[in-house]
């Protein structure tokens, strides 16, 4: 029985380690997913949120995209999907994905700095392989 006991300790040990890894993994890497409205609200309530990494989904405002000359810096404005009056400026220093246009839904990861500029570390555009069209769009393709 002593051997079996040691064996059980081993099993429980593995389970505990895996649980611990998941637990710390979540708490260290979790990212809040918010809409711009929620983020702006949250930051005004709790200024420490300027330091917390968040994921934000929003719409690039057409015509606001600009590339800063001489460095790999993209600047554009993003608005909330529902309430278009809520916007903030985004700075992103990396290559843009192929699917980026200045009229696309984006998911940004980064933080909203105290000066109101969102510093994005990653940028994903929504849609990927979902390329299904509404009937109106289809009707338009032939003309």
């Amino acid at each position: 029985m002593k051997k079996n006991g040691r064996f059980m300790v081993g099993l429980v040990g593995v389970a505990a380690v895996v649980t611990y890894l998941i637990w710390t993994g979540v708490s260290e890497t979790m990212v809040y997913y918010m809409t711009p409205v929620e983020l702006v609200e949250k930051v005004s309530e709790d200024p420490t949120f300027h330091e917390v990494g968040v994921k934000v989904g929003g719409m690039v405002v057409p015509g606001t995209y600009a590339r800063v000359e001489g460095e790999l810096l993209h600047v554009f404005t993003v608005s909330d999907l529902v309430d278009e009056s809520v916007t903030f400026v985004v700075e992103y220093r990396d290559a843009l994905p192929d699917t980026f246009t200045d009229d696309v839904e984006v998911v940004l990861e980064g933080k909203l700095r105290a000066d109101g500029v969102f510093e994005a570390t990653t940028l994903l555009t929504k849609c990927g392989s979902r390329y299904e069209a509404s009937p109106e769009e289809l009707a338009g393709t032939g003309s």
Partner: protein
């Protein structure tokens, strides 16, 4: 033809329902006519679904854009190849494709078992028909009918997403589907065993090949997907811990666990409940994977749909399967008792158990991380996601222990390992591992994770090589054969064992390749024609890249291309010319998207040179062929050891095929037996 296909899909509904009822009824009453009818209904459903698939294909080839599916996934200009593979390009077609694969495997099962294992077959037929009925119901009633018509006929379709127009993308999904669907057969046998009470190792023997086949397709399918991401997505990675990727990994993890734990049941009569549960769980996860891929419940870079109806149907089906599985196992619990107990912590059983626990732990963490946004939203109302860092933090340590177990498991003794057994088997490999660590460190390798991975890999490879060597030498001595012949015979005489070792070698090679990512380099340059840039690789090669210029070709709609900007770069490695490499931006006519990037890859065995045309300084000028507008952003990546991932996968495939191959000896035995039994019969005739 298309009308016929639609018609066939509708007819398959009652036929599958009929077969399902008869299968269960036949299993209970053991009436031969019912069972036969249930089995025949599988042939019928297969035939009907094939006609349905042909119907979809005919619509693709005939450019029948009045069908929603065709209008969304094809257009008149699409290459023939992609019209043929259009069947699985989107959600609707791939669900049909899935159903037809289940039916195909069902037909093979029914046919090969028409004269044997009759006690399982009624329920097997019933379970298979249940699953097919589910998919047919989804196809017909969940707003995903591939034969749905638009109210008008568009002049042309939307065309296929350019990112899916890639060789790997045409074979990656069907390979994964083959893996997913092949697992329905072991599931059907497991449920049949639970229903008819024949819970010895018979159902496991019957399904071993199916499970290995499924595992082979899953493994290869996952790696095909990695290869596609690497070539096509244009960011130099092959795994992003995307929900859909995770979903395909989950059944692979549990199936791998099963392949190992089942050996304990075969050798020691233990873990019966566990093995049964693993098969049921793996099947559920294959359904879950289809569900995630094809429903878009969780944000993913390749979700295909967002309809909720299909989500509810899938969730109810999975819930029902889970409930029935749990009830059946509880009901049969007394017959699933263990025949033995684990005797020692240092034993092969124990190593296998730890392997299982770790694989399940990995599966659980991947599941948890994938579902976390939903879980957190459900509990706190706040959507919180975890990204790749979470999966890496949890799974890298688990992966390393698993890697070490790959070495330990096969050579540690069953039941109880003695100190001598441990010393004899592990002294040299541990030394080799330690020497590897020290020499890599001395050579300047400082990436901890990579160092640990490579040292453990050296340890494992030494063990496996020793095993092969010992076996070959023993055989050469006993049989007096040459070493090459002895090596060959060694493998053919115990395919399962040596095939397994080959798979292990493949896994180790893949880990070595993964660890190479610790030394990836990434440099960005803004270059004008004639500019030369230099990049140093971790293996000490110097790449001298000369940007030759940008050439613009206007596609005029051929292959749906509007224009193609091709950046040409001459490559010299260590001063030796290596020819030119191109990287492109392509604009397709039928999408309102930005241009797509095509990367340029030059492979050598140690590393890949990976060029990305990030952006053109002045794309408008380039389009007008303005000679002053040729400047580009060029991203140069070096990917050390990445090729070992693909090579490792090849080993895995070869090893699995070796393990799957019917044994020569058994075939010979069967023949001898046939001859032996024929003789008395002949004598009786005299």
């Amino acid at each position: 033809m298309t009308i016929l296909g639609e018609f066939a899909l509708w007819i398959s509904l009652p036929v599958a329902a009929w077969g399902m009822v008869l299968g269960y009824a036949g299993g209970r009453t053991l009436r031969g006519d019912l069972v036969l009818s249930a089995e025949r209904s599988i042939y019928a459903v297969f035939g009907l679904l094939v006609i349905a698939c042909l119907g979809v294909s005919a619509a693709f080839l005939g450019d029948r854009f009045e069908y929603w599916y065709i209008a969304n996934y094809s257009n008149a200009n699409l290459e023939l190849f992609y019209k043929v593979t259009g069947l699985w390009a989107g959600q609707r077609g791939s669900l049909l494709f899935w159903a037809v694969l289940v039916a195909l495997f069902g037909v093979i099962t029914v046919y090969t078992n028409r004269k044997k294992n009759r006690e399982f077959m009624p329920y097997v037929a019933g379970v298979l028909q249940t699953i097919m009925l589910f998919f047919i119901v989804v196809l017909l009633f969940a707003d995903v009918n591939p034969f749905e018509r638009l109210e008008f006929t568009p002049a042309d379709g939307r065309g296929l997403n350019p990112q899916l127009q890639n060789y790997w993308m045409t074979i990656h999904p069907p390979t994964l589907y083959l893996g997913f669907t092949a697992f329905t057969i072991p599931f059907a046998f497991a449920v049949a065993a639970l229903l008819n009470g024949r819970l010895d190792a018979r159902w496991i023997q019957l399904t071993r090949r199916w499970i290995l086949t499924s595992w082979l397709f899953l493994s290869v399918g996952i790696v095909f997907g990695m290869r596609w991401a690497y070539e096509e997505l244009g960011w130099g990675g092959y795994w992003f811990w995307d929900p859909v990727e995770n979903a395909s990994l989950l059944p692979w993890l549990t199936a791998t666990a099963f392949l190992h734990s089942v050996q304990i049941q075969e050798n020691r009569g233990m873990l019966k409940v566990w093995n049964m549960s693993l098969v049921l769980l793996t099947f559920l996860l294959t359904i879950f994977a289809t569900f995630l891929t094809r429903s878009g419940l969780i944000e993913s870079v390749h979700s295909f749909a967002q309809e909720l109806k299909i989500a509810y149907i899938f969730l109810s089906f999975m819930g029902a399967v889970l409930a029935v599985s749990v009830v059946l196992i509880l009901y049969r619990l007394p017959q699933l008792r263990s025949e033995n107990q684990i005797e020692s912590f240092f034993s092969r059983e124990s190593a296998f158990l730890f392997n299982n626990l770790l694989l399940l732990g990995a599966a659980f963490s991947v599941m948890w991380g994938t579902m976390f946004p939903l879980i957190s939203e459900g509990f706190t109302g706040q959507e919180i996601s975890v990204g790749p860092p979470f999966f890496e933090k949890v799974n890298f340590p688990i992966g390393l222990v698993l890697l070490a177990l790959v070495g330990i498991g096969p050579v540690i003794a069953w039941r109880r390992a003695t100190k001598r057994n441990l010393q004899k088997n592990f002294t040299i490999p541990v030394t080799v591992g330690a020497i590897t660590a020290v020499s890599l460190f001395a050579l300047g390798a400082r990436h901890e994770l990579a160092l640990v991975t490579w040292s453990i890999s050296a340890f494992v490879l030494t063990i496996i090589a020793t095993e092969f060597w010992k076996g070959t030498r023993a055989r050469a001595r006993i049989e007096g054969e040459g070493y090459v012949l002895a090596f060959f015979h060694l493998i053919t005489r115990n395919r399962r064992r040596w095939g397994g070792y080959t798979v292990h070698v493949g896994f180790v090679l893949m880990c070595i390749g993964f660890a190479g990512a610790g030394y990836n380099t990434d440099s960005r340059f803004n270059v004008e024609p004639g500019d030369v840039v230099e990049v140093e690789s971790p293996f000490g090669h110097t790449y001298e890249l000369t940007y030759e210029g940008l050439s613009m070709s206007i596609g005029r709609g051929e292959r749906n291309l509007l224009w193609q900007a091709i950046a040409t770069v001459s490559v010299r490695r260590d001063g030796e010319p290596q020819g030119v490499l191109t990287t492109e931006k392509r604009q397709y006519t039928n999408r309102d998207t930005q241009p797509m990037t095509e990367v340029g890859i030059r492979s050598i065995i140690q590393e890949d040179l990976y060029l990305i045309l990030s952006a053109m300084n002045d794309s408008g000028g380039a389009l007008r062929n303005d000679p002053g507008a040729q400047g580009i952003d060029l991203q140069v990546l070096i990917k050390p050891l990445v090729n070992w991932i693909w090579i490792g996968c090849l080993f895995i495939a070869i090893g699995t095929v070796i393990a799957l191959w019917p044994s020569v000896d058994r075939a010979r035995m069967a023949r001898e037996k046939a001859v032996g039994s024929a003789e008395p019969a002949a004598a009786g005739a005299d």
